[in-house]
């Protein structure tokens, strides 16, 4: 049995506390001091309040269990159900708190390098650098191409013709090894990968057409002066095309149609599944752009025509300036970047955020973010949104010069560790390091997500997760032999 305490702020909690609960307000200093002193006396403490933040703030001490009474109160359909659920939650919390397991204290705060390494000076990389500079983080922008990269302000340092050769360390304390025009090691607290993807013209799918007189691609520049009388955007003939081709084609078509061109867009599918694309499509229609949906391309009398599948009817032939769609493909160096950062590539070869449950720009390693087309082709607007999200993530993590931990972490008992490295292989977040002096593995708190995959795999039972120690879990599952 633990000491039952609970928030006495009834208005906030929304429910009367059960009998025998010591009233205190855990979010006030006196209440917090009382909880701490009980814990120091070796008491198990159950706090009935409005969330689990207390456990997070206090670093998941053994013997502390929090019950979110407010949530239970809000969700219960009736009084009887509320009491039943409150009782169940309380019993579980008491069991958990009473199981004072092995649980050394792990620090909450860690110093962090404020510099952020941004890879790639494309749309996403430049936007991320700008956003980070605005957040007060110094940036090293590394670009593989010759540049120049300008206009990013004084706090963005640029290294062109340089690539990342390797990365060691963890969030807040990475060491990047650079190669090329700028070489050597750089300390950084976070990494944003914005290396983009490869755009290529699949001439084989477009009847052998190549950029030249009268032939351009959707990425090509169109000067206002040479707006042609007739222009045909020919899209979707090659694999790897999508809304990232449709969007620039639409945008250009709208401006050309506005300047007096007669514009045709030959497409297989109108790709309007993106912010503002439907409106852009409607605008194009309004300005007189002709959309032709075709099924395949066939040669006819020395020229190419778009054909309807069933009937074989000729729908249209590209005329005037012909603008071809570009296929997106993973950058050639994607595997090398993934290898240097110890990330995975997805089934289609892009550097992808590994999980549909994580936010899109997060990777499996804390402090490393992916933004823009390197994680899958996207439009410029989407890449900019990605870059800002990644910059905010990195900024929130390290801009203060330290990492404040709000997550539980795995703790390895060095006496039990047999150095089998099972945890290191199992860890999805690359948080396990091996101390060759202590001859034991340990989880780096800054990198650990507290998932407990290592604890589940450890054959020596040497790993415990804060708040989920074996003893606490067994107590919650139920007492045996009563």
């Amino acid at each position: 049995m633990g000491v039952l305490t609970g928030c006495s702020d009834r208005a906030c909690l929304g429910v009367d506390l059960p009998a025998g609960v010591e009233p205190l307000v855990p979010c006030r200093p006196e209440g917090l001091a009382r909880v701490r002193s009980l814990l120091e006396q070796g008491q198990a403490v159950v706090v009935l309040s409005c969330g689990r933040e207390l456990a997070e703030r206090e670093g998941f001490p053994a013997g502390l269990a929090c019950v979110d009474v407010r949530e239970i109160a809000w969700l219960a359909p009736d009084e009887a159900s509320l009491r039943r659920r409150l009782d169940a939650a309380l019993t579980a919390a008491q069991r958990r708190a009473a199981a004072l397991g092995w649980h050394p204290a792990v620090p909450r705060r860690f110093p962090a390098e404020r510099k952020v390494l941004v890879l790639g000076a494309g749309v996403a990389g430049r936007e991320a650098s700008r956003a980070l500079a605005a957040l007060g983080c110094p940036v090293l922008l590394v670009e593989g191409g010759p540049g120049p990269v300008t206009g990013l302000g004084a706090s963005v340092e640029v290294a062109v013709s340089t690539t990342l050769a390797g990365l060691t360390g963890h969030a807040g304390a990475f060491t990047a090894r650079l190669a090329g025009a700028v070489s050597g090691e750089v300390s950084c607290g976070a990494v944003i990968v914005a290396t983009g993807c490869r755009w290529e013209l699949r001439s084989d799918c477009y009847g052998g057409l190549c950029p030249g007189a009268g032939i351009a691609t959707v990425a090509g520049p169109f000067a206002a002066a040479d707006v042609p009388a007739k222009v045909t955007f020919w899209l979707d003939a090659a694999p790897g095309e999508g809304r990232w081709c449709f969007e620039p084609a639409l945008r250009t078509a709208v401006s050309m149609a506005g300047a007096g061109s007669s514009v045709y867009i030959l497409h297989r599918e109108a790709r309007v599944a993106g912010d503002g694309l439907e409106a852009l499509y409607a605008e194009a229609r309004r300005r007189g752009v002709t959309f032709v949906k075709y099924d395949r391309v066939a040669p006819a009398a020395g020229r190419l025509v778009a054909v309807e599948a069933g009937s074989g009817r000729e729908l249209a032939a590209p005329e005037g300036l012909i603008v071809l769609g570009l296929s997106a493909a993973p950058a050639a160096d994607a595997p090398a970047i993934a290898g240097a950062l110890d990330l995975d590539t997805g089934p289609d070869g892009y550097l992808q955020a590994d999980s549909v449950h994580a936010e899109p720009v997060l990777t499996r390693r804390r402090g490393i973010y992916v933004a823009g087309s390197c994680r899958g082709p996207m439009t410029e607007a989407e890449a900019i949104r990605d870059a800002r999200a990644a910059a905010m993530g990195a900024g929130a993590l390290i801009a203060g010069g330290e990492i404040g931990r709000t997550w539980p972490v795995a703790v390895v008992d060095p006496d039990k560790c047999a150095l089998c490295l099972t945890c290191q292989r199992a860890c999805p977040h690359r948080a396990i390091v091996v101390d060759s002096v202590a001859r034991a593995a340990s989880a780096v708190p800054q990198a650990c997500y507290g998932c407990g995959v290592c604890a589940g795999e450890c054959p020596a039972k040497a790993i415990q997760v804060e708040g989920y120690a074996d003893a606490a879990m067994l107590a919650e599952i139920g007492e045996v032999g009563r």
Binding site: V453, G456, Y468, I477, G478, R482
Partner: protein, 133 residues
Amino acid sequence: MSELTAFLCAGTAAAHRRLGEWARPLGMDVRMVEVPCGGKVEVVQILRALLVSEGVLVAGCPADACRHLTGNVRARARVAYVQGLLPQLRLEPQRVAWAELGPDGAIKLERALGDLAESLSGLGPNRGRVSAR
């Protein structure tokens, strides 16, 4: 009323619980044990739960959707391992089940618990059980 133990991964199952599907009475006594990830559920914990309840459900994320990449795969493998182990202990393998919860997890969790309770009702009491809750 069948007494069940359900291990819920924090990624999906517990989130669904917070969404309030337990506002509906389940008609069974289920002890929810929240774990940070399915990969944290160990064989010994599943067996321990069988000592105190009639059946065990381990609920986690669908394939390729684990925030910790392989936690769901590990949990599923451990459930399969325990299912293989139970006949040697003269217990029915149907006492342990795995459930994948997606975005419609609230319904799926309820259904999985219902299915487990139904298959248990045909088995009679758990002979491996040593104590009441």
